[in-house]
Structures are given as C-alpha cells and as structure tokens.
C-alpha cells in the first residue's frame, strides 16, 4: 500500500509511534484552541483515522515573517505537523527543490490531490496593471492564485496581507494589493490575520482541519472564533490596572515601570481581536504588551492606516465610537478623563499626527 493511502494511525504505528502520541498532540492543540479537553480522545481517534493532508503553500507579496513565525510553533511543533500529519508539497522558503523542480512538485501535488488539497496563502495579491508587480515563474500572483485555488478543498489566508491586503495595501497602495477573499469567492476561506500571526494559531487551524475535516467556525471577518473572539484587552494581564484607572503616561514613567495599562500610550488592545495575551510568542516567552509596548491591532483590517500607533483609541480614527465607549464603560471616569488630558502628551510622542 502506498504511504499516503494509509491512515495516520497505521502509518505512525509502523514507525512505532503509539496512540499516546496522538493523544498528546491533540491535548496540545485543544489547549491552544480552547477546545474542551474532554474532547481530546475523540480528536485523537479522528486524527488517527485521517490520511496525510496535502498542503500547498503559496507566497505572494510577503516578507516571510509569517513562515518565520510558523516555524516557531511549539504546540504543535511545525516539524511534528510536517513529519507526521501533513505533506507540505510546495513552500518556497522551506522546500529543498528550487526552480523547475519546485514548480513540478507544485503541479504534481495539484494533479494528484485535485479537490482535496489545502491551500495556504501568505502575502497580498497585486491587481493593478494586470498584476505585473509580483510574479513567480513568469506567472502573476493573480494567475497563480486562481489556478491553485481551482482545485483546493479550502484556503487558509495566513497573515494580515493575505487576509486584508496588509502593508502592501497601505496607502497609497501602489500595486493595488488585495487579500485572497477579494479574488476567490467560491471556496471556503479562513483568515488567520496578524503581523505575523501567532504560530500556534496557524498550526491550530491546520490541525483542526485535519482532525475535524473542516475549517473552524469563524467571525464576520472569517477569523477562527477559537482565537479571535476575545479582544487583547479582554485577556490582558494589565487589565486590572485599566479598571483601577492606572495608566502609563509615557514609556519611561513610573506607571510604565510598574506595568500599568498602556491605553493612553496608544494601545489598540480594546478593539484588536487576537490571542496574544494568552498564547504569547516565542514559546510563550512574551508578547508586545508584556514587553512594554501597546498593541498595534495588527490582526484588524487596515491597521497601518488608522492613525498613529501612539494615540489613544479615544483620540484616533479606530472606530472611535467603540474606543470611546470602552473607555467610558468600565466605570473609569478617572481613566477617561486622564486619557483626554494626556492628549497633548500623545501628540508630542506621535509628532502631532
């Protein structure tokens, strides 16, 4: 029997890997995806019955930070995924093949798994001037995306660029860059935004596709609810200071040193939906707010163009009604008042923009 006709359970048993490994793998995924841990045995059983998933990864106008981030996933590790559960048939940065051989690998994978392969895209796609601004092997990204998407079971857009255009689409958007779902409309698409996304969010979405055979439930921006239903602010460890009206006023004042809330320094936590506050980056080492800098809201569409990173939400263009409502809500009259008062201070930091 050919290797890819075996179930993962059979394939791994041949290598002497027991079901305990499946259980453990699923426990890690359930943990990061907030799937009830009581479902772990069922997940493990279903994963063992699955067959190796063909994955084709297309990189367009991107900076490779998404793949850099992905390779640092720890639960599950990306090597665990690649060696045991998926067949990564095409990925510029990771594959050994280059040039003609790489393109052949792509077309073979598309041929063999038509209708069944999963496409991952990072980077935006330029539309202006027939898309000439980014080409691979003589084909524009637009042609390439349409060709690969046609035979895909589903598409996962990785990173804010592939989801919403990202930095490529920032004003004045010289290449007419857009995200995948503005081009492909007849396939299931999940958006995993972030600049870069959290590695475990990327591997978690892949694993949930493997174990449940379908893409996870998503919000109105097609983001998986498991990771994007809470705001950074909801889960932030500095939240108690916000509720007490204790704010850092500059990056080196006493409040900053005491780890107080960064709202007045421009933190976009209250309107940014992402899981950084619980999953963190680099194997749980840290995340922007823990390092003393406010959230930029990088998982939200057009975050580059929404005013200064250093202006408080109540003073900026970020759906300002929402921002102000949040500031007023938590009974922090004190906080809201000081937010307005420190406006001058913010203007100083952001050069008055």
């Amino acid at each position: 029997m050919k290797e890819h006709e075996l179930t993962l359970g059979e394939e791994l048993r041949r290598q002497g890997i027991s079901r305990r490994s499946f259980l453990k793998f699923c426990a890690g995924v359930a943990s990061t995806m907030a799937i009830p841990a009581t479902m772990v045995p069922a997940m493990a059983a279903s994963l063992a019955q699955a067959r190796r998933q063909s994955v084709i990864w297309m990189s367009y106008q991107e900076c490779t930070a998404c793949i850099e981030s992905l390779t640092r996933s720890f639960a599950p590790t990306v090597e665990n995924l690649i060696f045991n559960f998926i067949s990564l048939d095409y990925q510029h940065a990771l594959q050994a093949a280059a040039g003609r051989q790489a393109e052949e690998a792509l077309h073979n994978a598309m041929e063999e798994n038509r209708g069944k392969y999963l496409v991952i895209v990072d980077g935006s796609i330029p539309l202006k001037d027939d898309g000439v601004y980014s080409t691979v092997d003589g084909h524009t990204n637009l042609e390439s995306l349409r060709e690969v998407a046609a035979g895909a079971a589903a598409i996962v857009s990785i990173g804010t660029c592939a989801c919403y255009g990202g930095v490529g689409a920032a004003r004045p958007n010289p290449t007419g860059a857009v995200g995948v779902d503005q081009i492909i409309t007849d396939k299931p698409i999940v958006n995993v935004p972030g600049c870069p996304p959290i590695p475990e969010v990327m591997t978690g979405v892949l694993t949930s596709f493997l174990t449940f055979g379908q893409l996870p439930e998503v919000d109105h921006l097609k983001r998986p609810l498991a990771f994007f239903s809470d705001t950074i602010h909801d889960r932030c460890y500095r939240r108690p200071f916000y509720d007490q009206g204790k704010f850092a006023k500059s990056f080196d004042d006493e409040g900053a040193r005491k780890g107080w809330c960064l709202y007045e320094l421009g933190c976009k936590g209250p309107i940014a939906h992402n899981a950084c506050a619980t999953l963190k980056f680099n194997q749980g080492v840290s995340w922007p707010v823990q390092s003393g800098h406010g959230c930029l809201g990088c998982s939200e569409p057009d975050f580059w163009d929404k005013d200064s990173f250093y202006k408080p939400l109540s003073a900026g263009q970020w759906g300002s009604a929402e921002g102000i409502a949040i500031a007023a809500a938590a009974g922090v009259a004190l906080g809201a008042a000081s937010a307005v008062m420190s406006r001058k201070n913010q203007d100083k930091i952001s050069g008055g923009k």
Binding site: R20, K24, A27, T32, A75, N80, R238, R257
Partner: protein
C-alpha cells in the same frame, strides 16, 4: 540560545508572569472541587486546561502547594516527555506535556481514576498482541 544567555536581567517591575497570586488559583480550586464531586458520583472524567488561563507564577505555585503530592508519579516517553502525578487528593492528577525539545507544551488537571495518557489504547494493545506472537516464532532472535 535562550533568554538566560542574554546578560541582562530585570531588577524591578512586577512583570506579567509576576510572582504575586491573582486570586485565580482560588477560583480554580473551586472548579476542581466541583469536578471531583461529579467524578465521585460516578460521572465522566473531567479535565481543567491550565494553559489558556492567565495564571501567574504565583498562582501556579499556590495551586501546586494547595493540591500537594500523592502516591503516584509517572513519566511517559511518547513524542517527548509527559509527566503525571496524583495530587494529595485521590483522583486529582496533574499532567504536564512537554514537546520534543522538552519545552512545556500544555498543562492540565485531570480528575478521574487514571489520566488518559497513561492508559494503553485498544488499537495499540491489538497491535502488540499481534507482535507478541513473534516471541514464540523466533525465540533466539535478539530483541530489536
């Protein structure tokens, strides 16, 4: 290279993984108490995921202290290490999963007769039953 290799350290600031308990441990203990009652009355195994809760170092330490250590501890080598021990409360198990590089990957409290990672899976038992008969067919072969 790890963080320890960087010759810089914090000398102030509470830090997020701060050492102060936040009250989260107390809340968790109540949840565990509930689960333990469920299981004691014949209910299904319950699992509390610790990984996605905003627990401080202090919370975890407090939780470990309050739960104590019981009679059983075990190490499982399957895709890296997993450590399991029974707390001072029978049926309340602490399960720590590590990845291949021995970095912590997930952490759970499992409430039940035995943690699922310790049980042998029926399919594995079946495979080993088939393999076992080879012991009689080739009695002199070196184990491999």
């Amino acid at each position: 290279m790890s963080l320890k290799d960087i010759p810089v350290h914090f000398d102030s600031g509470p830090g997020p993984a701060g050492s102060e308990p936040t009250g989260m441990a107390e809340a968790l203990l109540r949840e565990v108490a509930d689960h333990l009652l469920t299981v004691a009355q014949g209910g299904e195994r319950q699992v509390v995921e610790l990984g996605n809760l905003p627990l401080s170092e202090g919370d975890l330490r407090l939780l470990e202290e309050r739960l104590g250590r019981g009679e059983v501890e075990a190490k499982i080598s399957a895709s890296g290490l997993t450590e399991v021990y029974e707390t001072a409360f029978h049926g309340v198990w602490w399960v720590k999963y590590f990845d291949n590089g021995d970095r912590p990957a997930a952490q759970q409290l499992e409430i039940g007769t035995v943690p699922m990672i310790l049980e042998a899976h029926p399919e594995d038992i079946q495979a080993s039953a088939e393999r076992f008969s080879q012991l009689f067919e080739e009695p002199v072969r070196n184990s491999h």
